[in-house]
Amino acid sequence: MAVRVIAAMSGGVDSAVAAALAVEEGHEVTGVHLALSPDRQTLRSGARGCCSVEDAHDARRVADELGIPFYVWDLAERFREDVVEDFVAEYAAGRTPNPCLRCNERIKFAAVLDRARALGFDAVVTGHHARLADGELRRSVDAAKDQSYVLGVLTAGQLAGALFPLGSMTKDRVRAIAAERGFAVATKPDSHDICFISDGDTRGWLTRRLGEQPGPVVDVATGETVGTHAGAYGFTVGQRRGLGVSTGDQRPRYVLGIEPVTRTVTVGTAEQAAVDEVLTGRPTWTGPEPELPFTAQVQLRAHGAAVACRVTGSADGGLRIALAEPQRGVAPGQSAVLYAPDVERGDQVLGQGPVLRAGERSAAVVR
């Protein structure tokens, strides 16, 4: 069924092909490039940064070839409030945010989709690698490129206004389609890292935003200070590299927790870092709310592996997720995205809950 859609076009190859496929599908497509950065650079530098003038030009070139209208929407202010400031505040509170997930939740499938609907469009089409059919969100066939994790926060209402034409093809196929259509972006490098941190140095960027906030690194077993740091925001639970601690036993240490008020980073051994229960805040669901308890798989960070789990409710309306195998790197602020495994049609995203902390069962494991 042909519908009126907004194609969100970043200037990259994925969104270009998604827009092209939507046109070929017979939809009435209008291309929109989102200007999200307040100080836009003229030229793109490598695989980093976003929405430079050059990216807008690349997107416009594709739209012109497709013969569709094209506009730039300036959402820099919304993006700053909802994504960038949220990112800073989360780190300041000792958590590890995922800005791509936040952007999908609040910008692409909120600000953009709401505006599109108000303007008389039915949906927003993007180049995300995920499958969406009959309201069911599933992993991409290209496991390496799968982006279902950062879409896991979308609700049924948001998914009803989304089209992901790329979920059933590999990235190589996407590039081949772009090349077949003569798009100049066919060989454009994939973008990596956080789009608003153009040099890729997240710690340096946070230091500029939050200032140096030195504090102790404490070993969980002894309670002793084993090192110092310049800012707890430079750490993520589960992190092993760059801790700069010296302990007698030469065993690697991992970040177990971050306490923002005293700026204390707690570290421990691999065994101590393992968690087998996760507590989340209030969940969101991609479809009808599942009946608790249920068994599923859970992915605890972007590009993390999924593990089997059993999901029950917690007293305060969140989720208690018991993991079949202990996991390291369960960082507050990330999303615990729940999947119903399905080898044939792709694992289905059920919903997610924002990770609050490890549960009591884990504490027992640690000791």
């Binding site: 200007a35 807008a56 416009r60 209208p69 730039v72 709401d114 505006r115 108000a118 303007l119």
Partner: protein
């Protein structure tokens, strides 16, 4: 399709297209000494004479350029360099903040890179620059290199009295440049009578080709070149003459000036009907710029083809998009190179609040405009504004 963006560019006049096409088929560099060169030169010089006559200038005062942006850059920078070179105390540049970016950015470039001090003129709420405002900013003029005030504003259509302004500038020994890109063909423009020292015009706003324009430069005005080379155009603008473009420009300008009075009256009537109809359908819409019957120096105080309206609560870029989807082409005013809509710097300079500046649309009429164009807008404007208002509330 309803094309109401003639201030951006207007269709070529058939006579200009024919003359240009004919010339494109001929060989000949106007600087060459042989027969082909002489023939090319004859066409170029006839064009120069025709253009000069249409604009009240002498042929030797016509310097062909690559268009309005080049003319503005050449005049502002060239007059500044020449005046400052002659007298080093002349570092001040006086300009209107409502100028086109070709002037604004040239002035700012001089400030940033070449030691200029900028004095921005006070702009009235209609967008006009008064002789009093210019006199205040010039002071005794001893430290001023050049002043620049546009003849008619490209966004809100405000016309200034250039003859009065030139008198003020000359009284304190300051040369005056005017960007008359929008004025020619819509208003009576006589270079000699205006007294200005330099005047920028371009072809594609009046039915000629893009990339062809002229700077009218008084014979006694010293202007340092931007382009050095073969010494064409009084040694002020080197480069092989684009004879085909020049003949297209001259034919179009002569026709536009000859038909001006009749066409101006016709498009002003269309414009007036559009504005009345819009205000009837969207009662809280606001007209920006001078009143429709405004008079300055005995002539129209507003470009006859210009309608500029704000629609409170509706974003200009969404209005444009919704109208575009309905086959109606207009403009929001300034856009940066990436296409991000910015509040109109002209409205801000004229003292409008940013919200009003962001919610504006320009409809501009030209020689191909008809009553059907007005009808098309009036048919959709109310629902379009309503829809844009609803969409605006989703992201603010």
């Amino acid at each position: 399709m309803t094309y109401l963006d003639h201030a951006a560019t207007t269709p070529m006049l058939p006579a200009a297209l024919a003359a240009m096409t004919e010339q494109l088929a001929r060989v000949g560099n106007a600087s060459s000494l042989h027969a082909s060169g002489r023939e090319a030169r004859r066409v170029a010089e006839q064009s120069r004479e025709g253009l000069a006559a249409a604009l009240g200038a002498r042929p030797s005062e016509v310097l062909f350029t690559g268009g309005g942006t080049e003319g503005d850059n050449l005049a502002v920078k060239g007059l500044y360099w020449a005046r400052r070179g002659a007298e080093d105390r002349r570092r001040r540049v006086v300009a209107s903040p409502a100028e086109h970016h070709a002037v604004l950015d040239s002035v700012e470039w001089l400030e940033k890179h070449d030691g200029a001090e900028v004095t921005w003129l006070r702009v009235g709420e209609t967008g006009r620059i008064t002789p009093e405002s210019l006199a205040d900013s010039l002071g005794d003029g001893r430290d001023v290199a050049v002043a620049s005030v546009m003849w008619a504003n490209n966004e809100i259509g405000a016309v200034s009295d250039l003859a009065a302004l030139a008198e003020v500038a000359h009284a304190v020994g300051v040369p005056l440049h005017t960007d008359a890109v929008q004025a020619i063909g819509q208003l009576p423009v006589d270079f000699a009578a205006s007294g200005v020292d330099a005047l920028t015009m371009t072809g594609h706003k009046l039915g000629g080709p893009m990339g062809a324009g002229a700077l009218l430069l008084r014979r006694d005005a010293e202007c340092t070149p931007l382009l050095h080379g073969g010494g064409q155009e009084r040694d002020v603008r080197s480069g092989t003459l684009d004879v085909a473009a020049i003949v297209g420009l001259a034919v179009a300008a002569q026709a536009a000036v000859a038909d001006r009075a009749e066409r101006a009256a016709r498009i002003a009537a269309l414009r007036d009907r559009l504005i009345a109809g819009v205000l009837e359908r969207v009662p809280d819409a606001q007209l920006n710029g001078p009143a429709l019957d405004d008079v300055v120096a005995g002539g129209p105080g507003r470009l006859p083809g210009n309608a500029h309206l704000s629609f409170p609560g509706a974003e200009g870029d969404l209005l444009l998009m919704l109208l575009d989807a309905r086959g109606i082409e207009c403009s929001t005013g300034s856009a940066c190179s990436a296409g991000v809509a910015r509040p109109s710097h002209v409205l801000l300079a004229a003292g409008a609040p940013p919200a009003r500046a962001r919610s504006s649309l320009r409809f501009s009429f030209g020689h191909t405009s008809t009553d059907a164009d007005v009808d098309a807008v009036l048919e959709v404007i109310a629902p379009v504004v309503e829809r844009a208002r609803r969409a605006g509330t989703t992201t603010r």
